[in-house]
Structures are given as structure tokens and as C-alpha cells.
């Protein structure tokens, strides 16, 4: 085996390792959406049990926080947020954008829970926030999952091609 052949085989081994690593990373990325959904579901369960866990706000704290926004205003904002977030995800699906599922949505949704809680209408609006979160996160997760799966198939095809080439070259060398 010449030096050139040895170095080529090493490069191919490196390429194979890189491809395997890329497939592993893509698999992990495809599951990230599920983790985000699980985190949001856990947060929502905590919020649902909030009345039993958290002590009620004292009048002093309420006075310090000031007048809360009206529930109609928060609901209108929630609908605008849901509409724009769904549009953004659909845009990403159309452009096959590789942007991953963002945990920031959980932050926004927790803010909605907090506002409804401070306005004293959380129990009436809990399901609306839950439906918003689940819709946005499921759409994002589905997009990332399909995108990652397509990439994984591409990488697996390249890997199969590389392994076939490596096998052929070994056969020739023998």
C-alpha cells in the first residue's frame, strides 16, 4: 500500500466518522422538539396546580404590581401572537429553514399565564394558552423532525456510498 493510498483511506475513515457524528447530531436535533413540548407540558401542569402550590397574592403585592391588563386585551394579544407565530413556522416550512425549535416560546407562553393569573382569569383562559403553545410547538417540532429526517437520509446515502467505495478499494488492494 502506497503512502497516497494510506492517506486516502484515512481521509475516508475521517469522512465516515464525520458522517456518523452528523447523523447522531441530526437524530438528537430531530428529538429536540419533543423535549420542548415536554417542557411546556410540565410548565402547564405546574401552572394548573398553581392555585394549590402558590399562596394567593396579597393586596399589598397586587397594589405594588398595579392595575393588571384586562383579560380581553390579553386574549387579543394571545390571538395576534398565535397568528404571527404560526405564520412564521409555516414560512420556515416553505423555505425549509433549518432554524431549530426555540425555547423562547415557552417564555412568552409563561408570560401569558402570568398575565392571566394577575388579572384573576387564569382558569378561564388556561386552555387557550395551552392550545396556543401546543400548536406552535407541534408545528415547529414537526418541521424540524421532517427536515432532520430528510438530512439523515441524505447523510445515510452518502455514508453507504462511502462504505461501498471503501470496501471496493480494500478488495482492489487485496
Amino acid at each position: 500500500m502506497t503512502n497516497q493510498e494510506t492517506s486516502r483511506e484515512l481521509t475516508q475513515i475521517d469522512q465516515r466518522a464525520a458522517l456518523l457524528e452528523s447523523i447522531r447530531r441530526l437524530h438528537a436535533r430531530s428529538h429536540r422538539g419533543m423535549w420542548t413540548i415536554a417542557a411546556f407540558a410540565f410548565t402547564s401542569v405546574l401552572v394548573m396546580l398553581g392555585d394549590r402550590i402558590l399562596p394567593p397574592l396579597t393586596p399589598e403585592v397586587k397594589k405594588m404590581l398595579g392595575t393588571p391588563p384586562t383579560s380581553n386585551m390579553i386574549s387579543a394579544l394571545l390571538i395576534v401572537y398565535a397568528f404571527s407565530a404560526i405564520l412564521l413556522v409555516l414560512g420556515r416550512i416553505t423555505n425549509a429553514s433549518p432554524k431549530t425549535v426555540s425555547f423562547s416560546h415557552i417564555g412568552y407562553l409563561v408570560c401569558f399565564y402570568a398575565f392571566y393569573y394577575l388579572s384573576g382569569v387564569l382558569s378561564e383562559n388556561f386552555w387557550a394558552v395551552l392550545a396556543t403553545g401546543m400548536t406552535i410547538l407541534c408545528l415547529e417540532s414537526y418541521h424540524i423532525w421532517t427536515l432532520s429526517m430528510a438530512k439523515i437520509r441524505e447523510e445515510e446515502e452518502t455514508l453507504a456510498l462511502l462504505e461501498r467505495r471503501m470496501g471496493l478499494e480494500r478488495g482492489h488492494n487485496r
Binding site: 409555516l90 401546543m134 400548536t135 408545528l139
Partner: protein, 283 residues
């Protein structure tokens, strides 16, 4: 299953439409529920105010019998769960339920805490703080309103009984209304909205799926079937027109196969021609 174009097209559309319609319906229901409760509270406050005004004359003349009769008669009205008047010290002076008369009200309970939460009781209370919702001992959802009975010059100057000028609030009228009819209306509205939402979802997602199926998936399936067989068959004619871009693709594919077949035939002819030529030359 998740790799087919049909699934990949319908899932995001179905999810986005279903989710958004559900969000809108849930928010709309919550807004309408709040509006109906506010309206019921407003009408409850009006009733409480009417009771206070109708008892004013009896109070000014300290006519306790007359006052008791008014409370008992109004309390018998359908939908009134409780009706009581308590004095400045929190003692129930009159009640629809006579067994309550003379009992002391806890100032820390909901309905009282709005004014009595601070060191000094508040003399004025915002309209929304006069209202509270709870389930009573019979399990009935009650919307209760507390209407303060304010001191007036005629109260502190009449000869029959005397209230100090410093007392701004002489007592409270507390009325509780059964929320059963309101809850029934809300339940009816909820069922109607669920049916309406389901109909919208079936029409939207079903309509999109049917249109995609008719104009894209069926021709695509035919195209796949045609391109999967090696020999051109009559099936390709089915795609020659009427399916837009997919028909055009089928025509291009057809012409490509025809050109390839022609080239193959020409090559074969050329081969046989060359072979005959070589045989002739050899002989």
C-alpha cells in the same frame, strides 16, 4: 407514512388550522363568558341598589317589621339564594333566612375583605370588588353583590334613632343570585361553539385535502405508476391533458422516452449496418 407528499402537505395545514381555530374559539368563549358574567354582575348590582332604595323609607323610620317583610318578600323571588342586611359591626340584622339573624359576619371572608383588608376599612369600594362568585353549602354557584348603605344627613339627624355623623357606612346589603341559568346559557354556547368549530375544521382540512388529492396526488400517483413501468402503455394517455403541470411533466417524460427509444433503435440499426458492412468486406 410520514415521508409521502400527501402526509407532509396535509399535516402542517391541518395542525395550523385546527390549532388556530381552537385558540380563537377558546379565547372567544372566555371573552363572551366574562362579558356575560360582567353583565349578570351589573344587573345584580342594580337589584341590590333597588333593594337598598326600597328599604330606605323603612330604615329612616326605623320600621323593623316593614324592613323584615321587604327582605323576606324579595328573598323569596326565584333565583335569589341569599339576601341579608348587616349593620356596621357585622351583625346580621335582617335575612331571608331568619336563622341567620343576629349572627356575626367574619370580616376576613371574601366579600368583606375588599374593604376590611387594611388597618382602616375603606369607605368606597370599586364596582367589581363588590362582586364575588362562590359555591354555597347546597353546591349552587352564586354571584353575590355587597351594596354599602351609606350614611346620609337624614340618617344622622332624625329624632327616632341616631347614627353618628362620623360613620360613613351604616351597614351592608348582601344579595346572592343563582348562576344556574347563566351556567346553562354558557354550556349551550360551549356546545354550539364546539359543533361550529368541528364543522369549520372538517370543511377547511377536508376541503384542502380533497383539492390537493384531486389536482395533485391522483395525477402524481398516475405519473409514478407510468414512470415505474419500463414499457410505455396506454396509461400514459390518461395524463396527456387536464392535470396542468403534471400533464406537462408526463408529456415531457413521454417525449424523452420516445427519443431514447428512437436513439436506441438508430444505434441498433447502426450496429447491424456496420456488422453487415464488415461481413461484406471480409467476404
Amino acid at each position: 407514512m410520514f415521508q409521502s407528499i400527501a402526509t407532509r402537505s396535509i399535516i402542517p395545514v391541518g395542525l395550523a388550522v385546527t390549532g388556530f381555530v381552537a385558540i380563537c374559539c377558546l379565547s372567544l368563549y372566555s371573552i363572551m363568558k366574562q362579558d356575560m358574567i360582567d353583565e349578570a354582575a351589573q344587573s345584580g348590582r342594580n337589584i341590590a341598589n333597588t333593594v337598598v332604595l326600597s328599604t330606605r323609607y323603612a330604615m329612616l323610620h326605623n320600621d323593623r317589621q316593614h324592613l323584615g317583610n321587604i327582605i323576606a318578600n324579595i328573598g323569596q323571588q326565584q333565583g335569589v339564594e341569599h339576601l341579608r342586611v348587616f349593620n356596621h359591626e357585622g351583625l346580621i340584622s335582617f335575612s331571608r333566612n331568619t336563622s341567620e339573624t343576629g349572627q356575626q359576619i367574619n370580616k376576613n371572608t371574601e366579600g368583606c375583605s375588599g374593604c376590611h383588608s387594611g388597618l382602616k376599612p375603606a369607605a368606597l369600594l370599586a364596582a367589581e370588588k363588590q362582586t364575588r362568585r362562590f359555591k354555597n353549602e347546597r353546591g349552587v354557584e352564586v354571584l353575590a353583590m355587597s351594596q354599602p348603605i351609606y350614611n346620609e344627613p337624614s340618617c344622622s339627624t332624625t329624632a327616632c334613632h341616631y347614627h353618628s355623623q362620623n360613620n360613613r357606612v351604616l351597614g351592608m346589603l348582601d344579595i346572592g343570585l343563582d348562576q344556574g341559568p347563566l351556567q346553562n346559557s354558557l354550556a349551550l354556547m360551549r356546545y354550539r361553539m364546539i359543533i361550529f368549530t368541528l364543522m369549520i375544521l372538517v370543511l377547511t382540512v377536508g376541503g384542502v385535502a380533497a383539492l390537493l388529492n384531486r389536482s395533485f396526488f391522483i395525477p402524481l400517483k398516475k405519473l409514478v405508476d407510468i414512470t415505474s413501468v419500463s414499457v410505455l402503455s396506454d396509461a400514459e394517455k390518461e395524463l396527456e391533458s387536464g392535470f396542468g403541470e403534471v400533464s406537462l411533466l408526463a408529456q415531457n417524460y413521454h417525449s424523452l422516452v420516445v427519443r431514447l427509444n428512437d436513439a436506441k433503435e438508430a444505434l441498433a440499426r447502426c450496429h447491424s449496418c456496420n456488422k453487415t458492412k464488415a461481413d461484406t468486406e471480409n467476404t
